[in-house]
Symmetry: C2
DNA sequence: TAGATTGTTAATCGATTAACAATC
DNA sequence: TAGATTGTTAATCGATTAACAATC
């Protein structure tokens, strides 16, 4: 039960990080933690920790701190990691394959139920416990399966066409690895972009201008 | 020649995006662009465009706007994309392979000069125009080659050990795909993290709380 | 010159940090 | 109870936007 239903993206983007640290503390057997100690571990201020958590509710107890396992579960619930959103992967190249094999989607709120490719050589091949489907089967697949989100692992030039089909099929949530600007064209979508090359260019800049340490 | 040598990370992280849009405009043959038009394309404010660019110098001309090709080159220079920093890849799994094959490092300020693995099955195999090396050869390799940066594509539990070796070899710039917190342990490093799972959890949150569109 | 558009200063907005009363 | 630590308000800091004089 969010106190406030317009929580800023800056706070939201910090939630997964809290979740990670709390999961670790939980695994290590810690039962309680204070905002001060958590802040120290995470390299942020205690004020920020308390402010952030209080956007979603008063999970702590004065004089005691926060219960690690409870707080972890609360954040899990806030993030919706048990929703099991049904997702499909578009593009089974090096990248799509790596994503599919590397991540444990079930722990991240998703279930990967299909993967699609145009390359005839890959169609029919296994990918984890899925079989790579022909991209032409997209419409049939979506008629038979409820699909909540699509992970786009295809080159920019192929995005426009496939996106039009996905959008028409009612898919409005995207994890996007291309530089195609989905959210500008389809404004009622939810899009998370992963711009690896932007990230690497930033590293390059910071290497040139090396002086201070990490922000 | 930066006007100010302490430019905020918020501005820096926007530079690659400017660079992308300007490259595209350049390819499309546009010669000039106003902050207003660029802002419109990029879905930001004209004020922000002018403020951002002016951190690095007055690249525009009153009454005219900016020369697309010139501005693109300026940003290229600011980012240091021609520096050709020498980088090595640690971990040639699905992920490392995808990264190595997928990105054109030369355009992003880097040159990939080596890749390392512990898995005997992969050592000696080709990866692009490189041959996968035994991780045990790291010290020898670095003795013979100047290495500026390392791309870490290994699981968290293996990072600590390899990081110690890399750091001892003088490598202080990292592109990190693991959840190991490099910058906290080695404070004189430059680290760019790619936390894919955090990103996906954010998508999950936003799907739950879908109402407004993209920020 | 007149019109356009920058560079830059000032105003606003939002995010972070500090402080402290409430309370376990 | 005394000590600790939260939840929350107020103060500060930084980032974004607006405005406009400078100037091409």
């Amino acid at each position: 039960m969010p106190k406030n239903d317009s929580i800023s993206m800056t706070v939201i983007r910090r939630l997964p990080r809290y979740y990670r640290f709390l999961s670790e503390l939980d695994e290590q057997g810690f039962e309680r933690i204070s905002s001060n100690k958590l802040a120290e571990i995470m390299n942020v201020t205690a004020s920020q920790v308390r402010q952030d958590l209080n956007c979603f509710g008063g999970f702590g107890q004065q004089g005691y701190g926060y219960s690690v396992s409870q707080l972890k579960l609360e954040i899990q619930k806030i993030l919706g990691l048990n929703n099991g959103y049904r997702a499909i992967l578009i593009g089974v190249g090096n990248f799509g394959t790596a994503i599919a094999k590397h991540l444990d989607f079930n722990k991240l709120g998703f279930e990967l139920i299909g993967c699609f490719e145009v390359d005839r050589k890959k169609i029919g091949e296994p990918l984890g416990n899925l079989i790579v489907s022909d991209e032409a089967e997209l419409e049939n697949f979506c008629a038979e399966n409820k699909v909540d989100a699509a992970f786009l692992c295809i080159p920019k030039q192929n995005v426009e066409e496939i996106l039009e089909r996905l959008y028409r099929l009612g898919i409005k949530s995207y994890w996007n690895f291309s530089h195609y600007d989905i959210a500008t064209k389809y404004t009622d979508t939810v899009v998370e972009n992963v711009h690896l090359s932007d990230n690497l260019m930033t590293l390059c800049y910071r290497m040139n201008n090396k002086k201070s340490s990490n922000p």
